[in-house]
Symmetry: C3
Subunit: 334 residues, 3 copies
């Protein structure tokens, strides 16, 4: 059976249930969908406990001592993998880094056999990134009871730790979500970052979510049920409290209607100091990284006091420590 058929059998609602233990605790992290506000709040609170001022010794613990974490990246990544790697090490885990270029991956069975093999080596937690939709949940449905799967980026579907770190960053700057206007700008159609953030914001009761993209990169409205989909940046940014620019794949520029080139993309969809004058006076700027400076964001804006971009990275590590600790506690009942 081809891998796509295998992976896409189950509807997404199952992922939300699948990630919870019988006792209602988080066992896997596959998606932010279905996680209650109380659980998101608890995870954000736990993440705060793993933060220390830059320049101080990082927060460390031995709560994963004796556990083994495997970073299984079927899609290359420097940043997210480094973040998970350090998160696991600072909790005392043994870490196995596997960059798998699975050429023979014609079938889901090859992935499962690799998982079964590593599981038999007593790997406790798998951090999985894959370009195909459905892979993390597919794996989660097949592992032993004491094993946890963390989704580190799944096609254009989901990137839940990114969603959590974005929520944490917004909460740190803005306290309450309910009156907030959040705008995400760029290639919404292909963005797992936008999808996970939208999920989390909806659960937290955000005031308004606006999505701004070129028409050719607009999402299916069904994917973003409560969002306003716009195509003019000025309309989106006006009065916004949080402005997030998404990375645009350079190969998409110039190959799409309405995106004739880099300069035009920046002129129409780039976040700039000038553009930010339309936003709320204390609006913050975010970007999931890595940035294309001068394309989706003005370079000096990315380094300005309103930019939370490096804070997002710091929060990301704290969120990943919190998630590792949370799923590890759940399976500790073994």
């Amino acid at each position: 059976m081809p891998v796509t058929e295998l992976f896409e059998q189950a509807p997404v609602i199952d992922d939300a249930r699948l990630q919870m233990s019988g006792a209602g605790r988080l066992r896997h992290l596959l998606t932010l969908k279905g996680l209650k506000r109380s659980m998101l709040t608890e995870l954000l609170d736990q993440s705060e406990a793993f933060l220390s001022p830059l320049g101080n010794v990082p927060v460390r613990s031995r709560s994963l001592a004796g556990k083994t974490v495997a970073n299984l990246f079927f899609e290359p990544s420097t940043r997210t993998r480094a973040s998970f790697d350090l998160a696991a090490k600072r909790l005392g885990a043994d870490v196995l880094n596997l960059d798998v270029n699975m050429s023979s991956r014609k079938k889901g069975e090859s992935i499962l056999d690799m998982i079964y093999t590593l599981q038999a080596m007593q790997v406790d937690i798998f951090v999985v990134r894959d370009a195909s939709a459905g892979v993390p949940a597919y794996i989660a449905r097949h592992v032993l009871d004491h094993v946890s799967i963390l989704n580190a980026g799944e096609s254009d579907v989901s990137h839940p730790t990114q969603g959590l770190l974005d929520l944490l960053t917004i909460r740190q700057c803005k306290q309450s979500f309910e009156k907030l206007i959040v705008v995400v700008v760029g290639d919404i159609a292909h963005s797992r970052v936008a999808r996970s953030l939208a999920s989390g914001l909806a659960t937290m009761g955000v005031g308004e979510l606006r999505l701004v993209s070129p028409k050719s990169l607009a999402p299916d409205p069904a994917d973003f049920p409560r969002a306003r989909i716009l195509h003019k940046l000025d309309d989106g940014i006006r009065g916004a409290d949080v402005v997030m620019a998404l990375r645009i794949q350079r190969e998409r520029i110039g190959n799409l209607d309405g995106i004739p080139g880099i300069d035009e993309y920046f002129a129409n969809f780039g976040i700039s100091h000038e553009r930010m004058k339309l936003a709320a006076p204390d609006a913050i700027v975010m970007h999931p990284g890595p940035m294309n400076r001068g394309i989706e964001i003005e370079s000096s804006l990315a380094d300005s006091p309103s930019s939370m971009i490096t804070r997002q990275v710091t929060n990301g590590l704290a969120v990943r420590m919190a998630i590792l600790a949370a799923v590890s506690r759940t399976v500790d009942t073994r």
Copy 2:
């Protein structure tokens, strides 16, 4: 001098002697040949001590604390390298993972210079995998007295930790070797797995070893002095207690007389539920991995209760911990 000449100067009997310390203890692990039954039994007993039920915290110790293990893989590997990596970490060693694509490896000197360099960094144990015969012994003949070499796969000649984990798996299921019928099926000619298993089984006094392969993949009988070489699977499997399928390189299929295609290979040499009816009622199924499901083994058979395939992986990690601890004790007299 070309590398092949350098490496193949010494007969295999030397490898057996070379791996023992003056006091008769194991210093390197190059081959199972020449290891006495009492030593194999001791290593299997020590491996058992490193096993814990899946889901429990893995057995750990600090017996390699302060030691450095270098995984030197001149041939790519995910599974075996992960197994040695975790084995060393769970014993408290510092681990250096080096995937070396030695393009300039025209001469054995390049390998030795790399070994001398790492040895000068106080690496204590080298885990070596190489596609050329003779490399582990060649290295072992040149290192300092306190350094150990572990063969992690040597051309089609030897894979001693695989042989040990296979022996351990058989011993766990079958207690005694002496009345046992073991059959290995597949590309025997090119299999280091079959050679190391045959060595170990001969030492343990196995009842009967049968090797089943297409004629074009039959081994030199001199390599397997006590085995029966067969070409019909039914003849091999009848009454067998242990049935091991070997991985077949897909590129060999269809390019050899008598192996016209995948379906024909499976029909003639694939291990299936149907075929297993000819074996002993409590026969076990093994495979060194990674499997080609549906080619050398029926997929559902690999996941059935008679399959010991994931247990082999678990045993592999325990065997590697036992070997690391054993050679480390030997050199501790320094």
Copy 3:
């Protein structure tokens, strides 16, 4: 702005100042230029403290416990990276190994964004190797106050830890520098090793430094103000106390005037037993590695008692531990 313009704005004298903290301690290690003799002596003394006899348990400490070291290699390396990796691990640091093939590195901004990202993950020390001149200093000018940059090889400009390990090796064998004749042979024009050694030797007050190369690989004399530049090996080696051969890139051989082929290169510029008869009777032989045996050095000479080549490797690890500990102490005032 293209990367070369960005990186080469500042003169080298700035690097020397840039690497010192306000209190006159070493904060980064970018170059040996500008480091006083007392500081070099202190670093060499500290390196000695990290040496133990081969075969003994290596010297270890917890002085970097809780710190994170990132090995950021934009140019491939096995030896230097392994050396920094083990140095950091033996001091108790968490280590992140990143081999970055930065295809999109059209601008210095991409490097900086990667540094900012890792800095936001609380990386304390960056070990950087890059093929472009100016990268380590460029990074050092942009990091936070508590972060240190260690140059692990910078274009053909600088390789300060190599320079220190060479000084340490010479000091161990020769005690005093002031009457010493040191000769370096090979591709001086492209050698960061020769430049860092020349800097260090000048500071230590070496008697005489001679540089021998084919005319087409002669350096700009301005780069080596106190050295004698020669083109006949016999002239260079006569009476020398220390003879260092440099690695020659094979692709340079046969493509340059005066280097028609390997045999001619060895005949004219190879260090051999025969040639060493012209040197002082107790002269030592050095090579930064990896060697081309039979090209720049006679193979049996590299393995002879006068060769300090593996000792250089051992010293390299000790020097890197001393540097990591030194910059770590400096930033501990935070």
